[in-house]
């Protein structure tokens, strides 16, 4: 994606392991996200990608390991401090996770409204500014999430994530369930949002086309572990059998 990258680590994950009962999901995961970097985490369904994301944002607690965000250890951090730390992140969930009972503009400014009181007019104006940049029209502001398409819901979810101008963005399968054209539009929006905010990003996906469009670095999770790390360019030419199998299975046309 070629944004301004530095060597400053904004997220550091070390020896992270997680299991549910006896079912091991993640084992000794290690990686860094540097400032300005866009990292894609790929892997088959059920490989633990979303669990990894939930560990990073504190929704799950790892059994072992360390997660640092902006050099602050998040494991065992007090609830209040963890909440403050997570406020600095912009997160989109796999299915959008927009609040059904709130209108689109209320969804977009939800986080901002928690931080500072906004009047209805100011809130709608702010929401409009954000959604316009994502190619959405003002007419949807007063609709409910169930009244707009899946692609629009994904864009609104991105709008909600970037509204507070966070420096770290986390996207969980942003193009899942979308047609290729809408998927590429969402990828473009992610690239533009990350660039305009000067942010760092982690995107969980198994869409290889997305990976080549949005990522500077790719991590493959297989059999609960990181089995390959490289750039999208290296990935397409990798002789690693797991990478080859993964690309062939997901999108044979990309494999050379």
């Amino acid at each position: 994606m070629n944004t301004k990258q530095t060597n400053k680590k904004v997220i550091e994950v070390r020896n992270l392991s997680k299991k549910f009962d006896k079912n091991i999901v993640l084992q000794d995961i290690n990686f860094d996200l540097c400032e300005g970097e866009s990292l894609a985490i790929i892997g088959a369904s059920g490989s633990g990608k979303s669990v990894l994301l939930k560990n990073i944002i504190g929704l799950l607690k790892p059994d072992k390991g360390s997660i640092k965000i902006n050099n602050i250890e998040t494991i065992n951090l007090s609830r209040a401090k963890k909440e403050n730390l997570i406020l600095d992140l912009g997160i989109t969930f796999q299915h959008g996770a927009l609040f059904d009972s709130l209108k689109i503009w209320e969804n977009v400014i939800f986080k901002i409204q928690r931080l500072k009181k906004l009047s209805k007019i100011d809130g709608q104006k702010l929401a409009l500014d954000v959604i316009k940049n994502l190619g959405l029209k003002a007419e949807i502001l007063n609709l409910y999430p169930s009244e707009i398409s899946g692609g629009m819901q994904k864009r609104v979810a991105i709008a909600r994530a970037i509204c507070s101008k966070p420096k770290i963005l986390l996207f969980d399968e942003p193009t899942s369930g979308l047609d290729p054209v809408t998927g590429s539009v969402i990828d473009e929006l992610i690239v533009n949002s990350v660039k305009s905010l000067g942010a760092s990003a982690i995107t969980i996906t198994h869409d290889m086309a997305s990976v080549s469009r949005i990522a500077d670095k790719v991590i493959l999770i297989d059999q609960h572990k990181i089995s390959w790390v490289g750039t999208p360019h290296e990935m397409l030419r990798s002789d690693n059998l797991k990478i080859q199998d993964f690309i062939k299975a997901i999108n044979p046309s990309l494999f050379k």
Binding site: I86, A97, D100, F110
Partner: protein, 261 residues
């Protein structure tokens, strides 16, 4: 043979442990919910919206239920007691039954069916669609934003519903007694007021507040712990209504025993 017996005991033990673990989890959930309910910030918009939903929109169903219960009670009491020439006790039986038991219990059961199911389904859907996870990442504690308003509104609204239900139930009994059973209207009203005991009304309101706590907590608990998509939402809703109903009937006995035992 030994293996089969061991398996049976194993299953029983596993079920018991799971049940105890659920009770423990529910207890922790209740304490946590109370803690976040008394701590600011309070989401007044959510509380008001829940008060309208629980209090106002439950009025028709509560009114109809208690109205017909009062009518049936007057008829049944009359037909039973007239054999012993004790028709004059109809007003007293209707009043005592409605204020002590039928008013609070029927209101509790109706609210559990209407509001409890809605609460459980709403929270369960939010849970399985990651909306609750999203809340946590947007600077809002789900317990304070989702659960506390429901708890506060339930504890406030159900006693008012019971008061209204009691009045409507007694009115139902009065209508049957005066228009169908030919009781003297003034005498019936005089008897009703004469036998009105404040301890009965207060006991009914205490029950109502406890039912409000039970319904909101159980519904939110089952919703909050839902999993497995649509099936999980269905399970949470059913479990919320059934458990709330059973708990209402169980706790009404305990409260009655404490007041009058």
């Amino acid at each position: 043979m030994i293996k089969t017996i061991a398996n049976i005991f194993g299953s029983i033990g596993y079920t018991c442990l799971r049940f105890l673990s659920q009770i423990g989890n529910f207890f922790i959930f209740c304490i946590t919910a109370l803690f976040w309910t008394i701590r600011p910030p309070w989401y007044f918009k959510q509380i008001f919206s829940q008060i309208i939903d629980i209090g106002f929109f439950s009025l028709p169903v509560v009114g109809l239920t208690t109205f017909f219960s009062g009518m049936v009670l007057a008829l049944q009491t009359y037909s039973g007691f007239s054999e012993f020439n004790s028709e004059s006790t109809v007003a007293r039986v209707v009043l005592t039954s409605i204020t002590r038991e039928l008013g609070p219990v029927l209101t509790g059961l109706m609210v559990a069916g209407r509001v409890g199911a809605k609460m459980a389904a709403e929270i369960a859907t939010m849970k399985v669609t990651e909306q609750i996870d999203a809340l946590g990442t947007l600077g809002t504690r789900p317990m304070q934003y989702l659960i506390a308003p429901k708890l506060i509104a339930s504890i406030i609204c159900i006693p008012f519903l019971v008061l209204i239900g009691n009045t409507i139930g007694i009115l139902g009994g009065y209508i049957i007694a005066t228009y169908k059973l030919n009781f003297n209207s003034e005498l019936y009203l005089y008897a009703t007021l004469e036998y009105l005991q404040w301890i009965d009304v207060i006991q009914g309101l205490v029950k109502a507040a406890i039912f409000g706590y039970i319904i909101s907590m159980l519904s939110c608990y089952f919703g909050y712990n839902a999993s497995r998509g649509a099936e999980g939402v269905g399970y949470a809703t059913t479990a919320a209504v059934v458990t709330s109903s059973v708990m209402i009937l169980t706790s009404t006995y305990i409260i009655t025993a404490l007041f009058f035992g």
